[in-house]
């Protein structure tokens, strides 16, 4: 489940940040499209595979499409991902085969513009999927959806930064650095709000010290250290901040997934 959340966040986060950047500053970001959209699609395909494998009966995956149940975040998520996968596939295909054809580029931008809505929806549902349950800690985490959404965009921004570096697009780096500072700060605020939501629940845990240590450590590694690296000028620090950001985001998502099991040790 941890890897599923990570791939979902990377895919939709990259698509949203990259798509918005391409629409608003095409001269800087359009050259990245050839790598951006296929990468988002690859992460999406991994995510869909993980979601299917996680089912008790993977051969019945298509039963999810029997109905759209707006009261079920999982149903909303399935349909959002279905709509997003259409946009992501089309955008990836168009980005690979368009070349310098301006008409096709415009068509791709239209597809990306339309795809922003299901892209955002497939991020938004994830946190609500957890908070709308009866499981300890998750059920109190009212801001979890907001945190995961902001954090996913941060992850997408890191991925876009890496693509810009590989594709030698130096004009994109200062914009993405500022964007990362902004998104990491927003994630940090949302994380603080989640911590406030669950503080009473955590106080009841026998292993609360260990849990708090993990959470603070993960937040520091995934957000505070990268934020400090981003504030220091120089591309070296950009790369230095990327490793803890990715590692911390994996462990933080693992902590979120494991929280109810850890809460099983309630006093």
């Amino acid at each position: 489940v941890t890897w599923d959340i990570l791939c979902n966040n990377l895919s939709a986060g990259l698509f949203l940040v990259g798509g918005l950047a391409e629409l608003l500053a095409p001269t800087v970001f359009a050259p990245l499209a050839k790598a951006l959209y296929p990468t988002a699609l690859i992460f999406l395909l991994i995510d869909l595979a993980l979601l299917t494998i996680d089912l008790g009966d993977p051969w019945r995956f298509h039963h999810m499409l029997r109905q759209l149940n707006l009261r079920s975040p999982m149903s909303v998520g399935v349909w959002s991902l279905t709509a997003f996968s259409l946009s992501a596939t089309l955008a990836a295909v168009l980005s690979v085969f368009t070349g310098d054809d301006t008409t096709m580029q415009t068509l791709r931008q239209v597809v990306v513009g339309v795809g922003l809505v299901p892209g955002l929806a497939s991020l938004v549902y994830k946190g609500v999927l957890f908070s709308t349950t009866a499981q300890p800690i998750w059920k109190e985490a009212r801001w979890l959806g907001a945190f995961l959404t902001a954090s996913a965009m941060g992850l997408g921004c890191w991925a876009l930064l890496l693509i810009a570096m590989f594709m030698q697009q130096p004009d994109a780096l200062p914009i993405l650095r500022r964007a990362l500072i902004l998104l990491t700060a927003l994630s940090l605020v949302a994380f603080g709000l989640v911590a406030l939501n669950v503080r009473h629940e955590i106080q009841r845990l026998r292993g609360r010290r260990r849990l708090i240590r993990f959470a603070v450590g993960d937040a520091a590694v995934s957000m505070v250290v990268p934020l400090m690296c981003l504030l220091i000028p120089g591309d070296g620090f950009l790369l230095l901040g990327m490793a803890p950001a990715l590692l911390g985001n994996v462990t933080l998502r693992s902590l979120i997934v494991e929280a109810p099991r850890l809460a099983g040790e309630i006093e």
């Binding site: 949203l16 918005l20 608003l24 008790g56 009966d57 149903s75 009212r142 959806g145 902001a150 964007a179």
Partner: protein
């Protein structure tokens, strides 16, 4: 049938719909724990009728109960709650007064007087059931008797109902990967029969019938128990609370719900869903707008 036909049937079958049956009188269970003797006949009857696999019986170390908990293979479970003071050895008692002699006719580790509480637990068939709302496939339905039923041929084992249930009733089977729980003997009810567990109960601890009759009967039973001095007797789940709907399978308890392993104040997770969506969308939109403004201001 060729492989291709089988594949097409597999693909299309879940999308076929049959006409909805006409609504019938809502039915349910009233479990009166004050008369439960812990015989587990209900568990056996449930397993026999529904052809559920046997449990791996073992002593949990917490009580004499050896069937553990409700699960995808055990849709009824009789809880044994032992309310005894921890036994104190007469030798330990004697240690307070140094040199005190212990008479030989005193049984070592003899328990203090206490009581057993027995409770036959089952799916609560909530009037507004979180599992029903959580189900993305539509496998979980409310039957014409307003009971909650999982269609085993539709469930794909996503397990979201497992996370949604505040009572920990629904579980996913390790055998077939699908979620299972009490059906309130939907098949028996369709043919005018009483559910197997209620039929087998020798003390009428499990009562089945029209839900309004059961609620009335339960209130009268509580009043009678209060007259007899059992003032702790109360109903659990008979009426809707601030945080949760009424239960179609409700209980008469002799102690706090937590003693029976029931949540004191169950909360319907869906009552907070709209707010959670709103916060999540706000988080996304704020991030996107701020990002858009930043990129726009820095574009060449």
């Amino acid at each position: 049938m060729t492989t291709m036909t089988r594949f097409l049937v597999h693909l299309l079958y879940p999308f076929l719909r049959t006409p909805l049956p006409q609504l019938r009188t809502p039915t349910g269970f009233f479990t009166d724990t004050s008369v439960c003797i812990g015989c587990k006949a209900c568990e056996v009857a449930c397993k026999a009728w529904n052809e559920l696999p046997a449990d791996a019986l073992h002593i949990t170390g917490h009580s004499y109960d050896n069937t553990g908990t409700l699960s995808a293979e055990s849709w009824r479970h009789v809880k044994f709650i032992e309310q005894f003071e921890p036994p104190v050895s007469p030798f330990e008692r004697g240690a307070e007064g140094e040199g005190e002699r212990v008479p030989l006719d005193v049984l070592p580790l003899s328990p203090e007087p206490g009581r057993w509480l027995m409770m036959s637990d089952v799916c609560k068939h909530c009037v507004s059931a979180p599992c029903h709302q959580a189900c993305p496939t539509g496998a979980i339905i409310q039957t014409e008797f307003t009971n909650i039923f999982i269609q085993p041929d539709i469930c794909n084992g996503c397990a979201y109902c497992v996370a949604a249930c505040p009572f920990g009733v629904v579980t996913r089977s390790a055998c077939d990967g699908h979620a299972h729980k009490c059906t309130l003997c939907y098949d028996r009810q369709q043919h005018g029969l009483v559910p197997a567990c209620a039929k087998a109960c020798p003390t009428q601890s499990i009562q089945f019938g029209p839900i309004d009759d059961l609620r009335q009967r339960a209130r009268e039973r509580v009043a009678r128990l209060h007259q007899q001095g059992v003032t702790a007797a109360h109903l659990y789940g008979d009426v809707e609370t601030d945080g949760y709907s009424a239960l179609t399978s409700f209980y008469l308890l002799l102690d706090r719900p937590a003693v029976y392993g029931l949540p004191e104040a169950p909360h319907d997770p869906y009552r907070r869903m709209a707010g959670d969506y709103l916060r999540s969308i706000a988080g996304g939109l704020i991030s996107l707008v701020a990002l858009g403004l930043l990129i726009w201001s820095m574009r060449p």
